[in-house]
Amino acid sequence: MTLVEKILANHAGLTDVRPGQYVEADVDLVLLSDVAVRSIQAFRELGATHVYNSEKIAIVFDHNVPARDVKTADVLRTMKQFARQQGIKNIFDLPRGGIQHLVPAENGLIYPGMIVVDGSHTCTDGALSVLATGVSAEDRAVAMATGRLWFRVPETLRVFLRGRPKRHVTGMDIGLALLRRIGANGATYRAIEFVGDTLDHLPMSARFTLCNLTMEAGAKTGLVGVDEKTIAFYRDMGLPSPSHYPRSDADAVFAERLSLNIEDLEPQVAAPYSPDNVSDLTSILGLPISHAFIGFCVNGRLPDLELAAQVLEGRTVSPDVTLSITPGSQRVFREAVQRGYINIFLEAGAVVTPPTCGACAGIHMGVLGPEDVAISTSNRNFKGRMGHPDSKVYLANPAVVAASAIRGKISSPVEVLS
């Protein structure tokens, strides 16, 4: 069996499962963000009054924080009340939290072999060898009430990443290159398991970025098997080491295998209005921009901010550009302060926001107007995603976004640093 098949079999109490099979499986963690208040309403519609297991639920406020208006403040209060009533201890308000695709892992709630359900980009946690998948608001209500949920066992697409990436080629570029290759529905209903030596050359953060982007190919989840880097992640976070975890068998059956040569890969850029509308950075150089965004759940970890800081250090953001930097969590924010990155950003003329989905989801903290053209390290550039439907968003890695912010047009970090 493949990794994801084993995880599902373990949770369904079965010795064997096959792709296409429908199973009812135990859920280890239900994640709710503040826009998932609908799940709480649905929980009540089920006639449920008590959650199945309060330790298997985590609430992370990230979309409308700090509360953007009176209505959202009210939603935050509703969710806090729910957590109190239900004895849910893992509730993370902004000051000790951040974005839901970083905070639970940082706090030791995600361990290899688990099933985690959430909104859409929870597949990010697949980097820790879990089946982390987006389900509907109603599904989460059912999982909170019963501890179980139905799943279709997905086929697995095995993606082999070969070679050492060039300087300024990150997990973002690999993810975009994959989207370029397979398209926005290239992995619909499938799991994508990443293997290959490229993973050894990249920081752990690149795996989170890569798994995050599998959602844009329609995947059920992206995963990476446990290795030394996974173990090191837990050590670095001051968490207990994972003890037992499944991995794909040597004779596992993959629905498809494909290989990406990363050695020759150039930085990639996704043009409006789809994350799979990808081309090499070189083909789009010089396009004027008005806004630049670095961070969020896709590229808001310490190595991502480090890349941006390397490009921005001692340089100044173009007066025509608003550069906004959003660390993925308060923990990342604190470490970025300690390492001096935040100072570099402020000196360069950037604004630094608290960790929030705000601008990435077009909600608040930097929404785009009709004429605005942005380059962003986020994961979606659908029409209207970051604001007005006529605004345009290009997706790229943190070094490219930083370089573009300095030049006021889409630029290569190599040009800026030389």
Binding site: Y22, H50, S136, R385
Partner: protein
């Protein structure tokens, strides 16, 4: 089940930002919220849609976030969605809420055009274009999902299961999970 309605034709990869822009997710007034449905691609949709109408889409309908997209379409009393394929979170939402999602892989862009009347037979697995007189095959659901659908969706199934377990626990005097201590 026989479903009848009028077609609203849209394209491939219609994402959840088009079903409802993110800024309106937390509107408590559901009618107010639904008024923004599809506003970026069909500005007059919410004001012109009639109960029982169908959205007919291409591939990957509903891709994007897990916002309550299905609920919004139900708030507009849409009859269902016919698409060549659905994105999975949206599809799960349909199963949860018992909302008709008809998978019709053979549709081309020209099939089932705007304004045509259609008749869907979920038992037979057909979508009939009444206006043009053409018929298309739709996929039948696997038995596992069919059972959930026939019982009104996962929410309904769970509601009943919970009630039964509460009743049973009370009858037998065992610990009831849903009662306060």
């Amino acid at each position: 089940m026989i479903l009848k309605g009028r077609v609203w034709r849209i394209g491939d990869h219609v994402d959840t930002d088009q079903i409802l822009p993110a800024g309106y997710i937390n509107l408590k007034n559901r009618r107010e919220r639904a008024a923004h449905c599809f506003e970026t691609i069909i500005p007059h949709f919410a004001s012109s849609v009639e109960p029982g109408d169908f959205v007919v889409a291409g591939i990957n309908f509903g891709c994007g976030s897990s916002r309550p997209s299905v609920e919004i379409l139900q708030d507009l009393q849409l009859g269902g969605v016919v698409a060549r394929s659905f994105a999975r979170i949206f599809f799960r939402g349909g199963i949860a809420r018992g909302f008709p999602l008809i998978i019709c892989p053979e549709l081309s862009e020209e099939d089932l055009p705007q304004g045509h009347r259609i008749e869907i037979d979920t038992g037979k697995g057909t979508v009939l274009d009444v206006t043009a007189g053409n018929s298309y095959a739709s996929e039948k659901y696997p038995p596992f999902l069919n059972q959930i659908i026939n019982e009104g969706g996962l929410m309904e199934v769970t509601y009943r299961r919970l009630n039964e377990s509460i009743a049973k626990a009370h009858e037998e005097g065992t610990n009831c999970l849903q009662c306060s201590e």
